[in-house]
Symmetry: C2
Subunit: 337 residues, 2 copies
DNA sequence: CTGAAAGCGCTTACAG
DNA sequence: CTGAAAGCGCTTACAG
């Protein structure tokens, strides 16, 4: 990828005006180095993005990194499983990294990644800074984004689902059953996949001639708790909705809880529709009507793309959106009269 | 760990009566090697468990491998999360490997692992052959077993939970509510953790003076489907149980389904108790009474132990059993009269 | 197809 | 605290 010759200890040593052994000591954290020298060398190592290299040619390492913001939901398991199948196919393994901050990772993370080497990185709906994308590029680390947030440049490889279409379909399903007051719980407002689902919801209402009531649209965090809290909020509205499109399955389960706590039966008193179709959603009570997005397949594809890029291939197409499907089960029905 | 000097290309070359470059070619899959030579060299490489090594001292690689038999249940996510916290603490990453066969892995798996290097392996209720344990030892790869199956030698580090105690507690809870016909769905009969739960169930019945009816004890695979199937089997018995101890939470959800399909209400017509306390179990309907085992903590501990062994420490104690706790929610109640 | 020779990137003694 | 020298494990030309 990069035409530049790989930077070696010798280069750094020359530029710092010291010998190779000294640079080696800094890298290996030995104590016999003066603080000033250490400082200067560290600075240069960092600037050049030094990576320890052996005499050996560097082939694939057989590892793909899956980067999550958090590891909270069973949703992540579907992605791990898909990535693992694709990796196994290529005799590679999956490494799990968790950033533990929606705000973005510390910088260590990327340095460690580069030092340890990886064949590619799958970024799962996490927001990296453009500087971080730059670093990935600078170090020729292939990466693919799942559920892109629109931030990366248009040439970035990504895999997503037809979120807008899914939001539209879910809402139309509820409209067809006769609902007119339909609540919507989205995800974090900065996630593009959430915005798209909400926009699909809006489009369905508007094309059906139903007015969009902003007080019926809330943003959660895609976890059970916010489904529960926002479910209560929507159900305590004076003119409460007869149906809720919960934005994702976990939030739908939270809405189930809120409904039960208020003595409302699903679907008799309240219809609920999710998004994802997690394996457990069909065993929930009642079995959840939801929009299926092929999470396992998305991760499978993303991993294959990353592996392909690492082999020098150019993924075609560069951006993929897999289709979503409405799965009607028992949590949706006509509104109470 | 092993006092032997690391085997190098030069050693292999000498033993094979060829030069280092020739061995190097074999390793790197170059074509300019005669089939006989290749054969002989490969044989020796394999015998000696050759691992490519650089001039550099080999410190930690910053990776712990988590080995699952399958990646089916949200149960696995809890373990991944726990392992990830412990790894992060040590600036390491978690690598996920899935064997995809309860019978045991192919041999490639271990070879790839050794070639890529790892600081340690956590084996999650998978059965390795004693030959494979031997290989791990031969290559000085530290390993810790979660939910050991009793096979490994007594000096193997392991982390488990008090399964027998948990089975006892769950069953006593049901006995105290007044149940006398209590069904039991275990896991695979070759898993020690499942046997212990079943034995705890037996002990509770016996100490309460209730006869153990073998027709009430079934073995599943710890997934929803077998809870569903065996739930139906138990509920179609002539003198059907008034309560079922489902062996794990996923099977409990399957029993919920079976009960619903038969028009039985939980807990009014049937009490159900699980084992695990997965995060979703409290949002289930009804919220599941279950035996909590601290999966996240178990994986956290196991990972720390593996990391410690890789640093040359001896884990003390070598075998840990974390305690389980009964969590009473709404899926258990007195039997119908 | 094979290997002596040179080379690479790094580290390890060790002398100052 | 520093670096010239030697050494390590491996690979890359290249001559046979």
């Amino acid at each position: 990828m990069s035409g530049k010759r790989r930077v070696t200890i010798a280069h750094i040593a020359e530029e710092a005006g010291v010998s190779s052994p000294t640079v080696s000591k800094v890298i290996n954290g030995r104590s016999e180095v003066s603080p000033q020298t250490r400082k200067r060398v560290e600075q240069l190592l960092h600037e050049h993005g030094y990576i320890r290299r052996t005499a050996s040619a560097d082939g694939p390492v057989g590892m793909i990194d899956l980067i999550f913001a958090e590891l909270e939901s069973p949703w992540a398991m579907e992605l791990i499983r898909g990535a693992e199948s694709a990796a196994r196919e290529a005799e590679a393994s999956i490494v799990i990294s968790v950033l533990h901050t929606h705000a973005g990772p510390g910088r260590d993370w990327l340095e460690r990644l580069a030092a340890r080497r990886t064949d590619g990185v799958i970024i799962v709906s996490s927001r990296l800074s453009s500087q971080q994308y730059g670093q990935l590029n600078a170090r020729s680390i292939p990466f693919v984004v799942i559920d892109p947030d629109g931030e990366p440049a248009p040439d970035v490889a990504s895999v997503g689902a037809t979120n807008w279409q899914g939001g539209l379909t879910a809402t139309r399903h509820l409209l067809e059953l006769g609902h007119r007051r339909i609540g919507m719980i989205g995800g974090p407002p900065d996630m593009l996949c959430s915005r798209a689902r909400i926009d699909g919801y809006r489009a369905a209402l508007e094309t059906a001639g139903v007015e969009v009531d902003p007080s019926l649209i809330l943003n959660g965090d895609f976890l059970v708790g916010s489904g529960h809290d926002h479910g209560h909020a929507l159900l305590s509205l004076p003119d409460r909705p007869t149906a809720i499109f919960a934005g994702c399955d976990m939030q739908a389960f939270g809405v189930f809880e809120a409904a039960r706590q208020r003595g409302l039966r699903v679907p008799d008193d309240l219809s609920v529709v999710g998004f994802d179709d997690l394996p457990l959603s069909k065993s929930a009570w009642p079995p959840l009507t939801t929009v299926r997005q092929p999470l396992e397949e998305m991760a499978f594809l993303a991993t294959r793309m990353a592996l392909g890029i690492s082999r020098g291939e150019t993924p075609e197409p560069r951006r993929v959106e897999l289709s979503t499907d409405l799965v009607v089960r028992e949590s949706s029905g006509p509104p109470p009269r």
